[in-house]
């Protein structure tokens, strides 16, 4: 008998007592009733020592500090307005060593969760492949306010499970030494979030 068939047979035998069907109680919150989600998101992000900037106007100043910038191929042109440094588009794909040589990466995201301060990337528009936001030491991430939801269950309604998903809550960190939180281990040591309004709306 193959290992597969044997394991499945063992498990079926183990369930000889036929446990009764289970009704899963879904009484937990599915929608956030907080009045100001953006303020909550900013509070959580800063608690994780991410740096938050408001409005697309913050981008030229931020990118002014970056000599060598990685971007996904479909990054919106207006995010790069006036950028004078070396621009490395991920086409053909940059090697890990090449990515390691760059100063920062600029991407968008799919969803941001206010309750936990989590930014979710799904390889969708302006996000590129996973290695792009992993190897460079600084990640500048543009979050549109219409991408912000309150709670995790709200985020799940917007996600495609078949896409590779990366959830980011603050910069890379460890708590392995006497449970002290230290920011910056293997992932980007700096996470900068730029909150912008959706296209067509006014203000930021």
């Amino acid at each position: 008998m193959s290992a597969r068939d044997e394991i499945l047979a063992r498990l079926r035998t183990a369930l000889a007592d036929s446990p009764p069907p289970v009704q899963v109680p879904r009484g937990y919150r599915r929608v956030d009733d907080r009045p100001d989600l953006i303020a909550a998101l900013v509070d959580r992000l800063e608690d994780y020592r991410a740096v938050v900037h408001h409005g697309i106007g913050a981008l030229p100043r931020l990118l002014g500090e970056v000599d060598r910038l990685a971007v996904p191929t479909d990054v919106p042109a207006d995010w790069l307005a006036g950028y004078a440094g070396q621009l490395h588009r991920d086409a053909p794909p940059l090697s890990p060593a090449a990515l390691d040589d760059l100063d920062a990466v600029l991407t968008g995201c799919a969803v941001a969760v206010a309750d936990t301060g989590t930014i979710i990337l799904d390889a969708g528009p302006a996000q590129g492949r996973r290695a792009l936001t992993l190897v460079p030491d600084r990640h500048i991430c543009v979050v549109r306010t219409d991408q912000v939801v309150g709670l995790l269950p709200e985020a799940f309604t917007r996600l495609d499970p078949r896409a590779p998903l990366t959830w980011i809550s603050g910069p890379s960190a460890t708590s392995d030494i006497e449970l002290n939180r230290v920011e910056g281990v293997h992932g980007p040591r700096r996470l900068e979030v730029v909150l912008i309004s959706p296209p067509g709306s006014s203000g930021a």
Binding site: L11, T13, L15, V22, P25, Y28, P153, A163, T174, G187
Partner: protein
């Protein structure tokens, strides 16, 4: 299949080489270890309590998590078949391993097929359990742990002592000493500041990440309806391993299944707050088979039984399979806090280890572990999936083999206690017998207790006094009033 196949127990590092009291003795006497453990568990208890208190629907989340896991156990065979079909359709290759040795053989064969003689590893309890690093080494393959704590333990040639914080038993000075002694590229003037130590680990592993061809991981969750695997971590070492190499091999216990992708909305709220006391861990990665042009293009999943079918076979002990390895129960356990993780022998220490390890190996092989508890219930209170650990501990104590003399004594006692009349007579006899002794001890020490009983009862009085019967019962006293 006309004949049912009996569930089988597991192998690997889940057995206590020594009985718990023997193994705990040196740990309890090690004041440095106790100080390290006390500081660490107290810190994390406080953090957990703070972030759990801010969630208004915490109990509803626990109820949902507990029920989802009970449902998984009930439907495990069909969910595994569904997972296999979904993951295969998405481009992954699914393997099945009856026990630790078979799982190791599969990983070794896949690594060789990829033409690699080294692998980078994401921290994983399943690979610790099957002793994969030892098997890889025996096959001439170097395994590099990339989680900071696992790296500390690996460099120190030690074993992990905590599910979540494997190096919890070391303080910063001890970690610095290990790095200086064993990490070839550690700076000569390395300080014991956590930031400096983390930086040394970053530099040490960077080149390895960028050049690794094969990575080995576990998974926190495996989703049946989509074939998705999930790894929860903090440092980015997990993302490095899951993203950069060409080949990814994930070793997953069969109990890690969740029915649907949406069920993650419950567990990704319960897990980080219960484990590290954070609202969310810094990084969570989810992948479903192969994504062309993004991440590993050769993706394998090894589904491991290794005793889980035996746990499933016990209706009382079965909920131990609900464990999501958050380690909240370790951090609140008065026994763990004093004895540390190594005393439990298994890779699963603490209260959850005391119920999981004996069930994985068969109770007779780990008979001391169900006694490594005060039954205070703190573990049950913090468990995010509501595993009634004390109930299962008591259940397993009954399963464990007992010496014939103890069994005979208990049979007699049970006969006496079953009848109020026999019980009253027995008490009267005990009072009569112990009366002079009690009076003597009271004169000498002011208390009606015995310090020491003769062997074998001396084992019981080693850590407590035996109270002698009172001169009169409550009923007698009441009768006189």
């Amino acid at each position: 299949m006309s004949h049912p196949v009996a569930p089988a127990t597991g192998s690997g590092r889940i057995r206590t080489p020594l009985p718990f009291p023997t193994a705990a003795k040196p740990a309890v006497a090690d004041t440095q270890l106790r100080a390290n453990l006390h500081r660490a568990t107290r810190t994390i208890r406080a953090k957990r309590a703070r972030v759990v208190d801010e969630v208004p629907d915490w109990e509803a989340l626990r109820d949902a998590g507990s029920a989802i896991k009970a449902d998984v156990q009930r439907r495990l065979p069909e969910l595994l078949e569904q997972f296999e079909a979904s993951a295969t359709a998405a481009g992954a290759t699914v393997h099945w391993a009856r026990d630790a040795a078979e799982a190791c053989r599969i990983v070794v064969a896949l690594t060789r097929a990829a033409g690699a003689d080294e692998v980078v590893k994401v921290k994983s309890m399943a690979t610790q359990e099957i002793e994969l690093n030892e098997a890889l080494e025996a096959a001439g393959i170097a395994a590099y742990e990339t989680d900071l704590a696992e790296l500390i333990v690996q460099l120190g040639e030690d074993t992990p002592s905590h599910i979540l914080v494997p190096a919890i038993h070391y303080n910063r000075a001890q970690i610095r000493e290990i790095f200086q002694r064993r990490m070839s590229d550690a700076p000569a003037d390395l300080s014991d500041e956590p930031a400096a130590l983390a930086e040394a680990a970053r530099v040490h592993l960077r080149r390895r990440f960028l050049s690794a061809r094969v990575a080995v991981s576990g998974a926190n969750f495996a989703v049946a309806d989509t074939g998705t695997l999930v790894v929860v971590e903090s440092e980015g070492n997990g993302r490095m391993c899951l993203t950069l190499p060409e080949t990814l091999i994930s070793v997953v216990g069969v109990e890690k299944l969740l029915p649907t992708f949406t069920d993650l909305e419950v567990f990704l709220q319960l897990l980080p707050r219960s484990s590290t006391g954070e609202r969310m861990n810094p990084y969570t990665s989810m992948w479903t088979g192969v994504t062309p042009g993004d991440g590993p293009q050769d993706v394998h999943v090894v589904l491991v039984d290794n005793g889980r079918s035996a746990v499933l076979a016990d209706p009382v002990g079965r909920p131990a399979l609900s464990c999501i390895r958050c380690s909240a129960c370790l951090n609140v356990c008065p026994v763990y806090e004093r004895a540390g993780g190594h005393a439990y022998g298994s890779v699963y220490p603490g209260p959850i280890g005391a119920i999981l390890s004996p069930q994985l190996t068969g109770v007779a092989d780990n008979a001391s572990l169900p006694y490594a508890s005060t039954l205070c219930g703190a573990c049950y209170d913090v468990c995010p999936v509501k595993i009634n650990i004390p109930e299962i501990l008591v259940h397993l104590r009954q399963q464990a083999p007992h010496p014939p003399a103890e069994r005979a004594t208990m049979r007699v006692l049970s006969w006496v206690m079953r009848s109020p009349r026999r019980w009253a007579v027995a008490l009267r006899l005990a009072r009569a017998g112990a009366g002079p002794l009690g009076a003597y001890r009271e004169r000498r020490t002011g208390a009606r207790t015995l310090r020491r009983l003769p062997w074998p009862a001396s084992a019981w009085t080693r850590s407590r006094d035996l109270p002698l019967p009172a001169p009169q019962t409550f009923r007698e006293w009441w009768g006189k009033q």
